[in-house]
């Protein structure tokens, strides 16, 4: 390799910056760069450009999605009931849908969405007959009334099982509902489960609670 700056093309330089070159080729480029101020400057500018772009759109990560977007995600996938059905809905895809549906519930926070527990997601009240679930709801209500983000609450006892919930982020949906995220860890006997969810103020002033498996 000559030490002329034109010997390293820009495609190679950008690949070098992004660690996309094979190790040997990267070492060659590194050696050539040492005596090539022009190429060094190009590398510097490419780094600057990449680093500047990296966080330019982070706002989209931090804002809760608008309602119309959540409604769009509700679209029921009309899947044929075939073997392919299961294959298509990979774990992450189902999780995404579940998360989106849970978020969707915020928009219609007038009441609980009646989904069975067998769907994997549903209102926390679905197990209202269960003492631990009742205990959870009571703890959640206390937490929502007075808790701060990150605060934990323990509930239950040795007989019914024990749980801990932790409050998460607070945000307001496009519909104007105030919502809180929460995490929940429960232990019943030797079985430990972890999930989380959203609690949103309903129009009537109560809370609509939706849990999502993790």
């Amino acid at each position: 390799m000559t030490r002329n700056s034109t010997s390293i093309d820009r495609e190679t330089l950008v690949a070098y910056v992004d660690n996309e070159l094979p190790r040997e080729r990267a070492a060659e480029v590194e050696r050539a760069l040492a005596s090539d101020p022009e190429a060094q400057e190009i590398v510097r500018l490419m780094r600057l450009g990449g680093e500047a772009a990296a966080h330019a759109f982070d706002q989209a990560l931090n804002e809760p999605p608008p309602a119309h977007l959540l409604v769009a995600l509700q679209g029921p996938p009309r899947m044929p009931r075939s073997a392919r059905h299961r294959r298509v809905f990979s774990f992450s895809w189902r999780m995404t849908l579940a998360a989106c549906l849970a978020s969707l519930a915020i928009g219609f926070a007038g009441g609980l969405l009646q989904r069975g527990g067998d769907k994997g997601y549903g209102p926390a009240a679905a197990k209202a007959q269960d003492p631990l679930a009742t205990s959870f709801e009571s703890a959640l209500f206390t937490a929502l009334s007075s808790g701060a983000a990150g605060q934990s609450y323990d509930y239950g006892d040795d007989a019914m099982g024990r749980g801990r919930l932790q409050l998460g982020r607070q945000f307001t949906t496009s519909f104007g509902s105030d919502c809180r995220e929460f995490d929940r860890v429960e232990t019943r006997g030797s079985v430990r489960t972890r999930d989380g969810g959203l609690a949103c103020r309903s129009a009537g002033g109560g809370w609509a609670v939706m849990t999502v498996p993790r």
């Binding site: 996309e20 490419m46 706002q59 977007l69 769009a72 679209g75």
Partner: protein
């Protein structure tokens, strides 16, 4: 909560230059993705598949509206949204977004996928349906243009551009 939605929104924001237009694009892409769920190959990354869908919707839209130029006014007026960041870096980020908006669409897509979404070149080539060499040449031009524009602003603190919001 497991969801790729925030990343889809970030990509769409970068592509269209505004959160509103970006969300419209995400919405269209999600609708198309749901209707074509049977085409999704579970061995691939879901977001890469949706990026492909977003890119093709975007191309359709650009053809329809011949809207090759970004809505600069909307972009400039869009609030920074970085509540915790100081004013200087907010202005800086707005400047970066404006510069990215000025790039040709084909370069912008590659820049977003590599430098924002952190995808490997071969993944980007798959999303765009083009050779890796094309990815590299578009990316090198985009990065250099952006870097040079930003460096040109730097020496004396640069020209101060105040964006409302």
């Amino acid at each position: 909560m497991v969801a790729i939605l925030p990343r889809l929104r970030r990509f769409a924001y970068g592509l269209t230059g505004s959160m509103e237009k970006g969300d419209d694009l995400v919405q269209a892409a999600c609708e198309r993705a749901l209707s074509k769920a049977h085409q999704f190959d579970p061995d691939t990354r879901l977001e890469a598949w949706v990026y492909t869908i977003m890119k093709s919707i975007r191309i359709d839209e650009l053809r329809k509206h011949r809207e090759m130029a970004m809505d600069q006014e909307l972009l400039a007026n869009h609030p920074g949204g970085d509540a915790s960041a100081d004013t200087e870096s907010r202005i800086r980020l707005a400047e970066v977004r404006k510069l990215i908006a000025k790039l040709p669409e084909e370069q912008r897509v590659v820049l977003l996928l590599v430098s924002v979404e952190g995808m490997k070149y071969r993944e980007v080539a798959a999303v765009l349906g083009c050779p890796i060499g094309t990815v590299m040449s578009r990316l090198s031009r985009a990065r250099l243009a952006l870097g040079a524009a930003l460096a040109g602003d730097q020496p004396h603190g640069g020209k101060v551009v105040i964006f409302p919001g």
